[in-house]
């Protein structure tokens, strides 16, 4: 019997306390802001959309290898010794043409693992988070700065250089073979040379 009345009293009392809590919140200001009219400023380290500064990229493939979801694909082409690709802001002389640098930002898991291995710190995570597109293909970001014509040109030059190098190598090998064939036979070993010493015997 006591439990019955206790139940009723507790119910009414806790309901009233609960109502007091919610009523007091009617008079506290709201904690939400009205996005998109008002936007919160993200902290400095915020990890959102990737950005690559191609001037500094040396084509080392470190970010490609570090990515756990394989969203970065890079292709590089060797440059001729006479080409001047410029220097990075950290003072390194660039030696490779980066003909393809694609990041599929839809695959990216925003872990930031690609940022740390970059020797020139050219790949960074920015604070941009509003980058939705209507077409999924537009989410593949092409960072390479060479035009297709330039890419073809560079590839052609590299292929040519390769051919020349291969030809030179073949010619050098052929010349060496020829020189070997044309050269006189090496002097015969002298007959009166002492025989080779016998191999050392282990001590008894």
């Amino acid at each position: 019997m006591k439990e019955y009345f206790g139940n009723i009293f507790r119910s009414v009392w806790t309901v009233l306390i609960g109502m007091k809590v919610t009523a007091s919140h009617l008079f506290t200001p709201a904690v939400t802001i009205q996005y998109p009219d008002v936007r919160l400023k993200l902290p400095e380290r915020a990890r959102n959309r990737l950005y690559v500064n191609m001037d500094d990229c040396i084509g080392c493939f470190q970010c490609d290898m570090a990515c756990p979801v394989d969203c970065i694909s890079i292709e590089t082409v060797k440059s001729l010794p006479t080409d001047d690709l410029g220097t990075t802001s950290t003072g390194q002389k660039k030696k490779l043409w980066v003909t393809k640098f694609d990041i599929d930002i839809a695959k990216c898991c925003y872990c930031g693992l690609c940022v740390y291995p970059c020797p020139t710190e050219c790949i960074k995570m920015t604070d941009v988070y509003e980058f939705s597109e209507y077409d999924r293909k537009n989410l593949i970001y092409n960072y390479a700065t060479l035009t297709p014509a330039e890419v073809a040109d560079v590839k052609a030059k590299a292929a040519e250089m390769e051919k020349e190098a291969a030809a030179k190598k073949a010619a050098a090998a052929a010349a060496a073979a020829q020189a070997k064939a044309a050269a006189p036979a090496p002097p015969a070993a002298p007959k009166d040379q002492p025989p080779a010493s016998p191999p050392a015997q282990p001590h008894p």
Partner: protein, 339 residues
Amino acid sequence: MEELLRRIVDNNLIVWFVMALLPLVWIVPYALVAVYLERKVSAHMQDRLGPMRTGGWHGWAQTIADILKLIQKEDIVPAAADRKLHLLAPFVVFIGSYAAFAAIPFSSAFVGSTVSIGLFYVISVSSIVVVGLLMAGWSSNNKWSLFGAMRSAAQIVSYEIPTALALLAVVMIAGTLNLQTINEQQAGWFWHWYMFRKFPFVFVAFIIYFVASLAETNRTPFDIPEAESELVAGYHTEYSGMKFALFFLAEYANMFAVSAIAATLFLGGWNSPFGDVLAGPVWGLFWFLSKGMFFVVIQMWLRWTLPRLRVDQLMYVSWKVLTPWAFACIVAIGAWMMF
């Protein structure tokens, strides 16, 4: 009101037709405002803002936009559903809620019908809602909807009893079931209201009535039939478009009907709380509507504060708590009146 209409058009049928539709003039804008108010009240209780953009200033046009959207929505009926019942159900529910307004006096000059069994009529006709809910749950051909409908039927039927008993407490003192007469008996300053007479028994009856009426309207903590987290949307899961809007309208109309009865019987109806100050037919309408809205706001407040009861606990509250206490009130008031 009736005389005013008769002076304009001297045709019984037209006069009665217009009188029957007059509460709609209040119900429909009220529903729009109440939905918006619910969203705003719930938002501010939860430290957020609610609708802010539609219509410019604090999103006042949100409900209008919602209604326009619901009107254009495709009406989806499940393939295996019972089409006739599916179509009829929202109407039956709305009729049950709306018909109660026939006997509720909005003002000293306007009451749909001064039938002498007014209160009895109101309580019995609002039970039609149960049939509508059962139809909705059954015709959806969805196990979860069926659950919601069964629970709702059990709930509403059980809570009719404490409702009627609590109202009986007032009827015993008033001596009549005619709602307009009950209103007139509460004229004067607010201490003449029935809530404060034969204190505290009528007050306890008032609390019992208010709690039981929460269950009648399927509001939290008794909103098991439409328990969002359990049954998705209960009996109106399979409804879309205008039929869903009608369910919603019926729910808010019911909320106001129940608040109106509480205001009429316990809080003096269209009487001004200050006696003759600010009284009159038009002022009476204002007082009546404010008292109704006051209870509606309290219902919203409770919804956002309390968790919901389980079905068997709900039955326990009805049969073992509310009904015995209502009986006790009646006996106490009867004894007081005799001695």
